[in-house]
Each structure stands twice: as C-alpha cells, then as structure tokens.
Symmetry: C2
Subunit: 270 residues, 2 copies
C-alpha cells in the first residue's frame, strides 16, 4: 500500500480531486490517501512533513505527495528525497507567466467564490431556492427557476438540484411525476408555462426497484411492475412533449448536473 498525501494551502479540494483522477489511471494499486488542508505556514509544513516522514519510516515505501501551494518557501519544503513530489501550481505558473506577460501574484487565491459578496449571495439564494422548491411542494416560484427537473420518485432529482445550487448557483426546482400525472399521460398543468426550462431524469427499472426497495421494502411503490410502468409513462411524457432527458443509472451526481447544464445551456452563476 502506497501512501498518498494531498497538501494544499487552502481546502485541498482541487488537489485531491486532480490527484485522485490521476490515481484512477492505476486502478489495481492500493493507495492510502490523506488530505492536509490549510498548510499555509512554514510551521504547518514542518508538521505535515513529520507526518509524511513517519509514514515513510513505518511503511518503507516512497509516498506520493501532490501539492498546490502558492508560496515557494512553503512548497519547496516538500521536495524531499524520499517522496514522489508533484506540484500542480509550479508545473504551470511559469508557462502562464510567460503567456500572460505578468508575474504571478503569489497571493493565496479565493477560487471558491467568496471574493465577491454578490456572487456569494447568489449561491446562498440558489440553495434556499432549491430547498424551498423541492419535490413539487409549490409551483408558485417556477418563474424564478433556471431549470425544473421532472421524473419519477427516487430518480435523483433532489441531489441533482442541490448540487446545481451549491456548486453552480443555479436555481433548480423539481417536480415529481406522480401516479396521477402518469395516468393521464399529460404534462402536469403547473409545468406547461415553463416548458423551456424542463429537463427529465429517467433510470433503469432494476436500479429504481433496488433504490425503492432499500427505502420502503415490500410496498406497491417498490415493486418491479410499478417501477416499470412509472418509468415507461414518464419517458413517454418526456418524448411526446419533446423534453430533453437523461438516464441517471450509471452517472454520478456531478455528471448528471454537468450534462443538464450542457443540454439546456446553463452556466455557472458565481
């Protein structure tokens, strides 16, 4: 088992995410991962190095160290002869400096959207919006929506809406296609005026059956036959009304969210 450290002067979210994407290329190897955020002083770097050194001493295997640290004095401390060192800033900043014709400011960035207060409130607003307009509890704010997700119960509408709101500041409402909607084979009235904002989610029958069984075992709701007919009716509505839709079965929340944005041309709001 090889130890991997993700070290950042900020949250480490980007460092971890790119580091993990690189490690998936070596799927058969067993990695032990550790994120070390907020390493923004020489003292904290020394503490982190002590930990890394401990692992190396115990395991006898060179750890991999992914870093993204702006300050060269702090960053350079991690260039240890017993680690495989990769820095996500150092590798690109010089070429960018040359391209842009300007020196990097070396200020620790605020890349997660706190720098601009207006943008911050947009984000909080979108989260509030998605919470208050979840699960079709009300349709009176649909005018405000950037997107309205439709689909059967447990297809993945709520997690997708929350993800869109939190990570992109998009006001995402959702409306469950329930038994009565599906029986009438018609787009619910509340949705008709908002046709251009609708996006459908669908799912494989076996997966929906599994998810619903997990939630409410031995119910009409979870039966294969119910799942089959609900999915067919929902997809039929989406097709008849020409609503773009996506199967969520083998997709992560991230992939669903980005595919929706691409499909109906939505962009980050902060």
């Amino acid at each position: 088992m090889k130890s991997v450290f993700f070290i950042s002067d900020r949250t480490g979210i980007t460092t971890e995410s790119l580091g993990n994407a690189l490690l998936t290329q070596f799927g058969s190897v067993d990695f032990r991962r550790e994120v070390m955020p907020f390493v923004d002083t020489v003292h904290k770097a020394d503490q982190a190095i002590m930990k890394i050194n401990n692992h190396y001493m115990h395991e006898g295997i060179r750890p991999i160290v992914f870093t993204s640290i702006i300050n060269p004095e702090i960053r350079n401390k991690f260039k240890l002869n017993y680690v495989c060192y990769m820095d996500f800033f150092e590798s690109f900043i010089p070429a960018l400096e040359e391209e842009i014709g300007q020196q990097a400011s070396l200020a620790i960035g605020q890349s997660h959207g706190i720098s601009d207060e207006g943008k911050y409130y947009k984000r909080i607003d979108a989260i509030d919006y998605s919470l208050y307009n979840d699960d079709g509890v009300t349709s009176k704010n649909f005018d405000e929506a950037d997107v309205i997700l439709i689909g059967v119960s447990r297809v993945g509408k709520t997690p997708t809406c929350l993800y869109l709101a939190i990570n992109y500041g998009i006001k995402a409402a959702n409306y469950p296609l329930a038994e009565t909607d599906l029986k009438h084979d018609k787009l619910p009235k509340a949705l008709v005026p908002h046709h251009g904002k609708l996006f459908g989610l669908t799912i494989d029958v076996d997966r929906l059956h599994f998810i619903r069984t997990n939630r409410l075992p031995n119910t009409e709701y979870a039966k294969i036959s119910t799942c089959t007919s609900e999915i067919a009716a929902a997809e039929h509505i989406m097709q008849v009304y020409d609503i773009p839709y996506l199967n969520t079965s083998r997709r992560s929340i991230e992939e669903i969210a980005v595919a929706i944005m691409q499909s109906i041309n939505l962009h980050r709001k902060f």
Copy 2:
C-alpha cells in the same frame, strides 16, 4: 480579454477548478471562460477546436486551453500552434508511471464516486439525512449524525450541512440556537448527549445584520441589537461547553466544510 477554455473528457469540474485557481494568480487580467465537458471522441474534439479557432480569429488573441483528457489521440488535437496549451494529465502521468512501475490504464476515470454502488448510496443517504435533519426540526436521529452544527439563524448551517453531505457523504444535522436557548444560556437538552459531535458556527454582527435584513427587512430579527446579543449568547454557550467553533464571515462554504472536518477529524465517506 483573453479566452480560456477548460476541456475535459468528463465533467470538466477538476479542470475548471485547477485552471481557475491558476488564473487567480493573474488577478488584474480579464478572462472569458468556457467549460467544454464530455469531449471524449475525435469528432467532439474537432467541434471544440472549431469553436476555439473561431474565438482566436475574432479576438486575435491566443486563447489558453486547459485540458485533462486521457486519450492521447484526442488530447493531441488541442496542441495547436495558436493556443497556450496546458494538460493536467500529460504533465504528471509519465512521472507517476515511473514511480508506480505501471502503465496508465488510459480508461476514462470515475473519480466522482459512482464506480462503487455502496459508496453511491452512502452519498444519497447522507443527503437525505441532512435534508431531514435540517434546522432542528427533529433531534431523534442525532445518534446517526457524524456532526451536528449549531449557531444562530442565518449563520450558514444549512448550506454547510448540504455541502458536507453531497461532497463528502457526511451525515450533518443542524440545530439553530433560538431565542429560548440563548436566554437560558444553556446547551439545549437535545444536544447534551451528542457533545462530541457538536461544532459551532458564528459570524460578524454586521454581516449577520446584512443577511437578515436582506431576508426580512425592518424586523426585530434583523436589528443590529438582536444580532449582537444573539451572537454573543451563542458564542458564550460554545465557550462554556467547550464546543469548537468557527467564524463564517469571510469563508466560502468549501472552506467552512473542510475546516470542520479537520477540526473534529471527519473523513470523506465515499
């Protein structure tokens, strides 16, 4: 204005995030940004290049192209003589191959946690949990919580809980410290058995006043004096009961979430 393209064979989330972190080092430059996700065929690469070329023709300025594309045939298409090209995979994969002693699989990764179904359900479970245990509506599931956030109304508890659930699969409940709790200067009874899981959020008075005024202008709730006394009482409880706490005023949701995880030693669940 310089055009910047973030091109990925998957969602582009990591590519955009690292690219933006690099660009914050050149704060005075005005960039026009565009994310191009799911560029996973030669045909889609050609379409993307047409768009990039169009921008270059109109603007006469070399665009910056950040990519993270596994397939070399697709990736190499973007090495155009009229762009500043930076690839986040190519720069690190060779060194990792040497370090690990294995060739990269070149399979498009599933780094957002869909690969393992068990992990996927953990994530959905955590989102459900945080939704159902928001705003102190019930305390009967606190046993299940990984963390319980406390603080005055509008300090940032709900967005933080949702972020922890969605991005880390952490079951995060929250409990608002309301007038009655604050008046009695005691930790609410429902929280006492869960002391080890508590984390407090606090905020600057002027910021809370601004946020509450935005929400409910001209109310007792939004008054500076109310904000001042509520924050003082809440911080007093956190101090007396030795509950770790953090000021959310100048922090992004990401920073708050990661700082909480670091403080009470929580780790990613998926």
